[in-house]
Structures are given as structure tokens and as C-alpha cells.
């Protein structure tokens, strides 16, 4: 209904690539984080530019080709690596593609599609996460440059990136005006990584704090219209939430299947535990919720693919899919019992990874605030 033969063929190639070249290393990368070379490999195979036009080295696909990649990464349990790939292709580069000039696209989009550049997106600050209008990173004009001062935190790929798309405003006053997006390259004087952060899950990805101290950025690095950055980043967040929803529900499906298989093969009191009605019904609840949310996610993805701007549905899909993913992972741990709590079994990692999605890209509470607004509440 949503996927063509070409999508399914792509899916098989992605799956085979992940099985052969990625999954065997995942446990090691949980300890060390992934090597940058795997991004070049993703790039070579066209997986970082599925939706971008061929003139920038992209594959010219539709939104569902990006959904296929996101689903397969979730089903293969990529966790932090999947997050970094999504940041690259669905968060940091879309504004450069949509709002950037031809020169900017050649300079930053093309190498990101090839996997030669790793990109980050820097919105969140120590004192402003949900409250994007409350950020205090300032970019003040100085001739042909802007001088950037401020701090960003929880930035995925922040330590390893070649450039970050950084959200700034012209002064510290509140409000939605005076926002500017800049590509700021690593190595620009005044741009430093102050630390990488240890976290609950997504261990294969690096999460960093970035500092900008009198960092001089050429006006040529301004992405989109001057002063319109807030609108641009609100658009970006829709895509970020859509792909988060698609990835989350595919991950839930994987965890559900794992738990179901386990329950059919684990015996207690002389029978498979899947025969106990509580467990059987729990599995049915898991599968039923996933099926319903999956249908809604696809329906919303189709709207997004067709160029609509369905803020309510995207927020609902993101809210529900990520909640269900966490519930399912939690149920799976319960079904596996002590095994579920052990790192030798995949469900504890699934739970730790899934838990992020109810916070990142806008928390549950922020999704509800947005949905409420669309109802006129």
C-alpha cells in the first residue's frame, strides 16, 4: 500500500548490508562508538542521500525510501548509529537542501551525502531545550561576518562532526524573531567541544557539549533567510519527528517479535510461558498497539511525502509511536524475566535506546502542547 517493489528491493539490499557490515560490530561500538568509516560506507552505497536529487549525489527517492532505511536500521538494532544517520539525513542536511544556496549545497550537502562529512544539528542549550524560543546563543553581525557566542548541549555527533547547523538569535530577547541558522565548521576559531556526555542508552553515538566563544562565522554560512530561522527550524522538526516515529515503531515490532519467540520457547511450570494467559494477552496487546500505530505512522508519512504539513498528525504519530516503543520494550523485559535485565539479551538495550525517543525531537509533553494548540485548546 505504501511500498513499491523498488522499495522492497532496496530494503533487501539495506538489510544484507547491515547484516554483513554493521551488525557484527554493534556490541563493540556500544563500547567505543562507531567509526567514521561506516558513514563513508553508508554514503558510498547511497544510503545517506536516498531522498536527495541525483545532481547532489542523491538517489532521487521519495520519503518512503527514507522510511525503509529507518525501519531497517531499527530492526537491525542499530541504536546510536541509526540516530546519527537520521541526524545526518533527516535533520542537519534537510534545511541546507531546502533553504540553502547552490553554493552552500555543493559545499556541505554533497559531502554529507557521500559520508565524507558527518553533520550535527545544534538547537538545545543547557538552559533551553523544550523552550526553543528561550535559547541564548547569540549571533551578532560584524561586517561580512557574524560573531557567535553561546553553548549547545546533548548534540548528537557533536564531537565527531565536520560541521554543525547551529540555531542562534540576534539578541537575547524572547520571541520568535531574529533567529538565524548557520553552518559552523569544526576548526573555526572559537568553536570547541567542551565534553562528551555519558548517557543511559544510544551508546554507539557520541553526544557532546559545544561552546562558541567569539566565534567568527562568515555571512555566507547563513542558511535560509536572515531572521527566519525559527520558521525554518520548526519545519525541520516536523521531519525529525516523522522519522523518529517510523524508527520507533519498527523497533517496537522487532522487540515484540523477539519477546514472542522467547515466550514460546521458555518453559515454566511444565509449559511454554506463552501459554499463560497473562503473557499471551500481554503479547496480543503489544502486537495490537504496534499494528494500529504503524498504520497511523504510514498514513502520516504519506501526507508528509505528498508535501502536506500535517503538524497535528506528525506530533501524534511521534508521541504514540515512541510511547508504544517504550511500553513494548518494558513488557519485553518483563516477559524475559531476569534474562530481560541482562545485557546478553537484546531487550534491555532496546528499552534504554527507545527511552530517548520520548525526550529527543520534542518531549511527550511538548507533543501534547502542540497537539492541544491544533485543537484550539
Amino acid at each position: 500500500m505504501y511500498f513499491s517493489d523498488a522499495h522492497e528491493e532496496l530494503r533487501l539490499h539495506i538489510r544484507r548490508f547491515l547484516e554483513k557490515e554493521v551488525q557484527p560490530h554493534l556490541d563493540e561500538w556500544e563500547e567505543t562508538t562507531f567509526p567514521d568509516s561506516i558513514f563513508r560506507r553508508f554514503g558510498e552505497l547511497g544510503f545517506l542521500g536516498l531522498r536527495y536529487p541525483p545532481e547532489y549525489g542523491g538517489q532521487g527517492g521519495d520519503y518512503f525510501s527514507a522510511v525503509v532505511l529507518s525501519e531497517e536500521m531499527s530492526k537491525a538494532g542499530l541504536g546510536g548509529l541509526a540516530m546519527a544517520v537520521d541526524v545526518q539525513s533527516e535533520m542537519a542536511t534537510p534545511p541546507v537542501f531546502r533553504f540553502g544556496t547552490e553554493e552552500q549545497k555543493q559545499k556541505w550537502l554533497v559531502p554529507a551525502i557521500r559520508g565524507e562529512h558527518i553533520a550535527a544539528l545544534a538547537i538545545t542549550e543547557p538552559d533551553a531545550g523544550s523552550d526553543v524560543a528561550g535559547i541564548t546563543t547569540v549571533a551578532r553581525r560584524d561586517g561580512d561576518d557574524f560573531i557567535v557566542n553561546g553553548r549547545k548541549i546533548f548534540i548528537t555527533s557533536g564531537a565527531r562532526c565536520q560541521w554543525a547547523l547551529v540555531v542562534t538569535k540576534t539578541d537575547r530577547e524572547r520571541g520568535h524573531s531574529g533567529y538565524n541558522l548557520f553552518v559552523i565548521e569544526k576548526g573555526t576559531p572559537g568553536f570547541s567541544v567542551t565534553r562528551t556526555l555519558k548517557k543511559l542508552g544510544m551508546h554507539s553515538s557520541d553526544t557532546a557539549e559545544l561552546l562558541f566563544e567569539d566565534c567568527r562565522v562568515p555571512a555566507a554560512n547563513l542558511i535560509g533567510e536572515e531572521g527566519e530561522g525559527f520558521k525554518h527550524i520548526m519545519w525541520e522538526l516536523q521531519g525529525e519527528r516523522m522519522i523518529a516515529a517510523a524508527g520507533a515503531i519498527a523497533g517496537a515490532q522487532r522487540t515484540f517479535e523477539y519477546a514472542m519467540n522467547y515466550a514460546q520457547n521458555r518453559s515454566a511450570f511444565g509449559q511454554p510461558i506463552s501459554q499463560f494467559q497473562v503473557i499471551k494477552h500481554r503479547l496480543v496487546d503489544m502486537g495490537t498497539k504496534i499494528a494500529a500505530v504503524q498504520a497511523f505512522v504510514y498514513q502520516t508519512a504519506r501526507q508528509w511525502d505528498q508535501g502536506e504539513y500535517p503538524v497535528r498528525e506528525i506530533s501524534q504519530a511521534k508521541l504514540l509511536a515512541t510511547q508504544v516503543a517504550v511500553e513494548v520494550a518494558d513488557d519485553a523485559i518483563q516477559i524475559l524475566g531476569g534474562h530481560g535485565y541482562m545485557q546478553e539479551f537484546p531487550v534491555e538495550r532496546a528499552w534504554r535506546n527507545a527511552r530517548l525517543a520520548r525526550i529527543g525531537a520534542g518531549t511527550d509533553e511538548i507533543m501534547k502542547e502542540i497537539i492541544a494548540k491544533t485543537y484550539g485548546l
Binding site: A6, E9, L10, H13, I14, R16, F17, L45, G46, L50, P54, Q59, G60, G61, S65
Partner: protein, 252 residues
Amino acid sequence: MKIVVTVKQVPDPNSSHVLEADNTLGRDKEVVLDPGDECGIEEGLQLKEAHGGEVVLVSMGPERAKDAIRKGLSMGADRGILITDESLSGADAYLTARALAAAIKAEQADLVICGTESYDGSTGMVPPILAELLGLPQLTFAKKVEVDGSKVKVNRQTADGHMVLEATTPVLITVTAAIAEPRYASLKGIMAARSKEVKQLSLGDLGVESGERAETIESMADAEARKAGAVIEDDGTAVDQIVKFLADAKVL
């Protein structure tokens, strides 16, 4: 250089095979491009990338075998030819080779690449018959191929190493899975494959008579499943028990 790669659609190696009432393989199962042929296609593509030319895929099979050809086109092959005909159902190696030879002859290829044997039929007879019918020298079991002008040199896999063989084009080679790791198709390649030509030919188009089958498959059986091994609990005599086990098995 014009390169023809023969390809076959086979039942998915991950599913079990059942013979139909007419002793042909059940094709309602999941089918895939023969994994060995993927290696042959990859080698063809690499040779084309190095020396220029064209890669043409030729297959014999039911209409559904077009999917296997498409898969190779997604990887980057230029076009395909599918020989399909009611009267080919249950074709033996000789008929298969005659049909393939007729289609390949018209292509005037410099190089014909075949797998060593198909995953399902496993006769390994089609490539040699094909070479004979086309009047080509054949270099078999190649794990490496080098082309230099009209010279084709291969490393032929042997039990304890390899031998180097050389022939002048046109030539037919059979390749092992060690020849090349098949590439992953890109989305661009997959979409481009949709508009590449796959010509469908009947035996009539090729001027081939189906004739009598020289061979038919009577039945098929799975190999006996391996029995569970003996587990020896170490009660102090484990070493003796293992030595006795190995001695009884005549491996000591």
C-alpha cells in the same frame, strides 16, 4: 567488450524444495537470483568498469524469472534476455544449453560468464555444453579473471591451490563464489533497472526445437539430518571415554 552473464532464478536457499507432480521443482515457493550468479554478475560488472562495454544477462525460465534478471539490472547490468516457453518446462541440461546458446550466439559476446553450477539443479553441465555449442574455449572454476586486450587469463581453483589458464576471446568462463563479492544495489540502480530492456524470446524466436528430454528427475530426498552427539559428563573417566570414542570411530 561485450559480456554475457547467464543467470538463473532458483528456490530460496532458505526454504525447502518440493517436486511437483511432473517432477519439476515447485516454483510457488520464494525464489531468488541464484547466489552464485550474483558473483558472476559482479565479475562482469567489474570487467565492464575496467574495460568498457556492455553486460547482458541471459536467463531461461518461467516469466517470473524476469525478477531475477531485474535484480542483476539493479546491480548495474545493461539489459536482459529471458527465454521462456511452455515447452521448456522440465528442460534438461542439454535443452537448456541449446536454448541459451541460440540466444547468446546472436549476441556475439567476447566473454560468457556462467556460475559453476546452479544452486538447485547442481548438474554443472550447462556451461560445458554451452561452450561446445558455441564453439568457445572454456576456462572453468575461475576465482580470478584478468583481461588484457583479447587475452583472458584466469586463476583456476584446484584442491590445493590454483593453476593459471589463458585463452583468446571469445571465451566462456565458469566462476566460483570466490570471484567477487556481489555489490548492494543503490536505489538509483534499482529505479534505473525498471526502464532497462528485458527481451522475451520463445523457442520459436530462437529456432530451437524442444525435442525429447534426455534426462528427467525421478525424485528428490533430503540428506539425513545429523544425529545429536553423545554428551560425556566428566566423572573422572571423561578422557578415557573420549579416547575410546575416537578410537572406535577410527580417527585415532
